[in-house]
Amino acid sequence: MIRVVLPFHLQQLANTGREVAIQVDRPVTQRSILDALETRYPVLRGTVRDHATQERRAFIRFFACGEDLSLESMDQPLPESIANGSERFMIVGAMAGG
């Protein structure tokens, strides 16, 4: 299972806790994680990726393994530690406006 960390407002929308576990077929990529997340929680469609372009929304970041993966290809396989659930895939609201 993939462990995905959601920001506060998306936890509220999806009525979940901070971390959710979702089944994702390999190869595990940002796109496959988001596809699975949106299938499990349809209310999150459009909140992480733009409906029309399917691109990451401007103020959303993806962190994992101590790295900012936001600018990596959506289809690049993610590290094994994320695929096996030992590391979490974090969806983060970018620091802005503070």
Binding site: P7, F8, H9, L10, L13, V43, R45, G46, T47, V48, D50, H51, A52, R57, F59, I60, G93, A94, A96, G97
Partner: protein, 371 residues
């Protein structure tokens, strides 16, 4: 006993204020959707317990919420607003063309007769409709044929912010866009006419009397006379007596005719309200005084309403969707400020009291008169 429900959208959530018909004691519910911008929350005239809210965020985009119990509980519905076909491009601030892109929903106006049918005015400007209670939204793309390539954003974006449904003709709808102008359909939204003749935008447009491009801030009508429209433009207050065919200025003795909202008394079709704002460079009330201006003659002659409103050191704004009226025998008038106050008058504006003083900046105020 009848009462009122005031639906307040703010920068950081929604609030629902309720009272009986005396409108003296209020219950405050909220924040709903705390931390999100609520551009608009509105109720169905056909079913007062059916509410819709536009919930948005710079981080997480657009959500639409629906309630079937008067705002006690909510459920998210479809949030996908996809333009029909290739929407093309519109003008942007520097005069160049920019592709149409959805940003947020500014206005949710439920049908007068069907609680499952709702119109949504969005940025970049377009009109959408749901007929299944928000499960899906479809654009009415004919609007863009009304010279959409010449529309441009106002300071807050190219937003379709005002929707008026004609109670005497279900095929007639009026809308307004900043900065494109006012438009009317007479065929249920298939085709649209710019209705901007008579508007003059001397400092905003190279052709002050252009067919489109005017920064209309708000429109209002009285349901008994849907052919009579009132407009607060960027500058100028205007009226049309022929469903937008021709406008004439009725700013009269207003201290400034810049402003955002305009409203019509529930029982007096020639009594209208505006809140003058100092200028387009200084978005606050003039002279530190919060004054609603009322005309009982449909414009031209205005009186300041100040009883109960701060008359010194006040520098708030009142945004375009933030004024509304109830339909009780003694008409109630309500408005919210960027300072977080919601003021109510239970006597047509003669006297005012704050319902709440310390909300986040108020984006919208709608009022339901409950049986």
């Amino acid at each position: 006993m009848s009462g009122v429900r005031v639906l307040v959208g703010t920068r950081k959530g929604a609030f629902i204020l309720t009272s009986n018909a005396k409108r003296k004691k209020w219950e405050v519910s909220g924040p709903h959707f705390a931390g999100w911008e609520i551009y608009h929350i509105n109720g169905s005239p056909a079913d007062p317990d059916r509410l819709y809210a536009s919930q948005s965020s710079g981080w997480f985009g657009q959500i639409i919420q629906r309630s079937i119990d008067g705002g006690k509980t909510w459920e998210p519905v479809d949030n996908k607003f996809a333009y029909e076909g290739n929407p093309g491009a519109h003008k942007t601030f520097d005069g160049t063309q920019q592709p149409w892109a959805f940003k947020r929903v500014w206005n949710l106006t439920p049908s007068l007769t069907d609680p499952d049918t709702v119109f949504a005015g969005v940025e970049d400007a377009a009109l959408f409709r749901t007929t299944d209670g928000g499960k899906s939204w479809q654009e009415l793309p004919g609007l863009r044929n009304a010279k959409g390539h010449l529309w441009q954003p106002g300071a807050v974006g190219m937003c379709l912010h005002t929707i008026l449904l004609d109670p005497s003709n279900p095929n007639r709808i009026f809308i307004a866009i900043s900065a494109a102008g006012a438009f009317r359909t007479d065929d249920g939204g298939e085709t649209w006419l710019p209705i901007n003749q008579g508007l003059k935008s001397n400092y905003e447009l190279p052709d002050p009397e252009a067919e489109v491009g005017h920064c209309v801030h708000n429109l209002a009508m009285h349901p008994s006379r849907p052919g009579v429209l009132f407009m607060q433009k960027h500058w100028d207050v205007l009226r049309s007596d022929d469903a937008g065919g021709l406008w004439r200025e009725v700013s009269g003795n207003l201290p400034t005719d810049f402003g955002f909202p305009i409203a019509v008394h529930a029982h007096e079709p020639e009594t209208i309200y505006v809140v003058p704002i100092k200028s387009d460079s200084e978005h606050f009330v003039p002279d530190g005084k919060l004054r609603v201006y009322r005309s009982r003659s449909g414009g031209d002659e205005w009186e300041a309403l100040t009883n109960g409103l701060p008359q010194s050191d006040c520098y708030v704004n009142v945004l375009r969707t933030a004024m509304a009226v109830d339909t009780l025998d003694s008409c109630g008038v309500y408005f919210g400020t960027t300072g977080g106050q919601v003021y109510a008058s239970a006597d047509s504006g003669d006297t005012w009291e704050p319902i709440v003083r310390d909300l986040p900046a108020v984006l919208s105020v709608e009022v339901q008169t409950l049986p």
